[in-house]
């Protein structure tokens, strides 16, 4: 459970404080795992077949632990950082899978890093989940990354920009395109209205970059 700064008591440390402490006391990084593993797992599970989720979700924290010395300590919340690692791993997994499939002359089993059939089968959900999965599968990978982080993981534009290492204006343009496409695929009526990104801290003002 992530607490906003106003909800955290004086003794609850931010992710940045825990990561800073873990440089000399590695055990403190375990708290980062305890806080965020479930959310990262669900994010990965929403994109991959069941056989790969355990390993990938675990690998996110293994990589994060090795890289913690380079974590930007001005970022209290480590989730964008972790989502960024997860997204890169997903793409790397896709490239590895593609090379393997191409070696067997097959390229049709996995759509980028988004395994529609496995997701729908595993989710065992109703028609809506299947429709959403199918709609997401039609997106370009970069657009899908942004949309899933925005709508699925509740990340702000700035968080998404940090996670993916792209300009905030690129986040907005990809998000706009992705939302229009998905709305069309899902048959949602009405105009798509561009909305201001409301960050989790109302005092922050999001600067809209050039699209």
């Amino acid at each position: 459970m992530i607490l906003s700064r106003s909800e955290r008591g004086p003794t609850t440390r931010t992710d940045a404080e825990l990561i800073a402490a873990s440089k000399s006391d590695p055990e403190r990084f375990g708290d980062i795992f305890d806080r965020h593993f479930d959310a990262i797992y669900r994010y990965v599970a929403s994109r991959l077949g069941a056989t790969l989720v355990d390993d990938l979700a675990s690998e996110v924290f293994s990589i994060a632990f090795r890289r913690r010395a380079s974590y930007r300590l001005d970022r209290d919340d480590a989730r964008p950082w972790l989502y960024g690692i997860a997204t890169n791993l997903l793409h790397r997994q896709y490239r590895t899978e593609q090379r393997r499939l191409q070696a067997y002359g097959r390229t049709d089993l996995v759509t980028e890093e988004f395994d529609v059939a496995a997701i729908v089968e595993r989710v065992d959900a109703g028609a809506q989940q299947a429709r959403v999965a199918a709609a997401l599968a039609t997106l370009a990978p970069g657009d899908r990354d942004v949309l899933l982080l925005f709508a699925g993981a509740d990340q702000s534009y700035q968080d998404i920009a940090d996670a993916l290492g792209i300009p905030i204006g690129t986040v907005r343009s990809r998000l706009n395109r992705a939302r229009r496409t998905v709305r069309s695929r899902l048959g949602l009526s009405g105009e798509y209205h561009d909305e201001r990104d409301v960050s989790r801290n109302p005092q922050e003002e999001v600067v809209d970059g050039r699209t």
Binding site: E27, A45, S46, S58, L147
Partner: protein
């Protein structure tokens, strides 16, 4: 409901981690944490002055009847990390290549070790470690062979040699005559069992860690030893020598994680010079350690050491009273050396 809400539900309803998935991931991270914590810290290990720090059996046996020096007492800690590390070893074990013994095949294991014994003469008592070389061949059907040879004893502590000399240097053959125990197990006789476990029974329990734990607990409760100590002993015996396909080994590590009172010692070096992770359980005056390689889950060694001085043994805390070094294992179709 707009597309943002639909996608939010899509991610939110994705499967969350099961307890085993979370534990396994946490254990993998904990292994990294433990190894990093150990880096740069001065590792304390038992150094027997004249036991050569190599993995070769010949070098280890070359110590002969020489006094041991300089034991150091390692401290164990009962922390949540021990379960995480053992679950990590379980996961590693489950991923190891599998070979299921075929009829006529045996799992062969060679180990060297020692056990403590004492002699009394004319009011003087001294102790020594009787060194052994052991080979075991185990078939899935309970056939096999055990060949164990006792070697020259090694005095336990400096005072032991002195007391032996004061007693007139009597023949040390009461402790060891260099005899060899050699027994073959055929289908016509009793099967070869480890701690009362038949290989067939172990293979049936391989995929059921709960049932395996119950069976090991039941066996442990029949002895006079503390439950945790005896369970760890059995787990170590089965990891070291049984026909253990990946799932059985994985289940044994899961059983170990639940042993009452099990403690984490940390990264140690066994007397073969090999680095591993040690976990321990105590029995009154002594503590048993299992040392395994966390990268492969292979059991490297067992050691039992004094926790403190006791009246019957004139040796300081940390003195090792028994050990086993697992040297090599292989699959063979012959009941001679592979």
């Amino acid at each position: 409901m707009d597309e943002r809400e639909m996608i939010h539900d899509f991610v939110a309803t994705a499967s969350g981690p099961s307890a085993s998935s979370r534990n396994a991931a946490r254990a993998a991270l904990q292994t990294q944490i433990v190894h990093e914590s150990e880096k740069g810290t001065r590792r304390r290990s038992f150094h027997w002055k004249l036991l050569l720090p190599t993995a070769s059996a010949a070098a280890i046996l070359a110590a002969g009847s020489i006094v041991v020096a300089g034991p150091l007492l390692r401290r164990g800690q009962q922390t949540p990390a021990v379960a995480a590390i053992l679950h990590s070893a379980s996961r590693v074990a489950s991923l190891r290549p599998a070979h299921y013994l075929q009829p006529g095949e045996y799992a062969y294991t060679k180990s060297v070790g020692a056990y403590f014994d004492q002699q009394d003469r004319q009011g003087h008592t001294w102790g020594a470690l009787v060194q052994t070389t052991r080979e075991i061949w185990i078939g899935a059907d309970g056939t096999g062979r055990i060949r164990q040879r006792s070697e020259t004893p090694v005095f336990l502590a400096p005072g032991d040699r002195a007391r032996w000399e004061q007693a007139g240097t009597p023949p040390i053959t009461e402790l060891s005559t260099g005899e060899t125990y050699d027994r073959r197990f055929t289908r016509l006789g009793p099967p070869l069992e480890l701690d009362g476990f038949h290989q067939g029974e172990l293979l049936r329990l391989a995929n059921n860690p709960d049932a395996l734990r119950d069976a090991i607990r039941a066996a442990a409760e029949k002895t006079q030893n503390p439950l945790g100590y005896e369970m760890l002993t059995i787990v170590g015996d089965l990891l070291g020598e049984s026909v253990a396909p990946p799932q059985l080994r994985a289940s044994l590590y899961q059983v170990a994680a639940d042993i009452p009172g099990i403690e984490l010692v940390g990264t140690v070096t066994d007397r073969g010079g090999r680095r591993g992770t040690a976990v321990s359980a105590s029995r009154g005056d002594t503590r048993l350690e299992l040392i395994f390689d966390p990268r492969t889950s292979v059991l490297l060694a067992k050691e039992e050491a004094l926790l403190h001085r006791i009246p019957d043994i004139a040796a300081p805390a940390g003195t090792v009273l028994a050990y086993t070094l697992y040297l090599n294992s292989s699959i063979t179709r012959s009941l001679s050396a592979p």
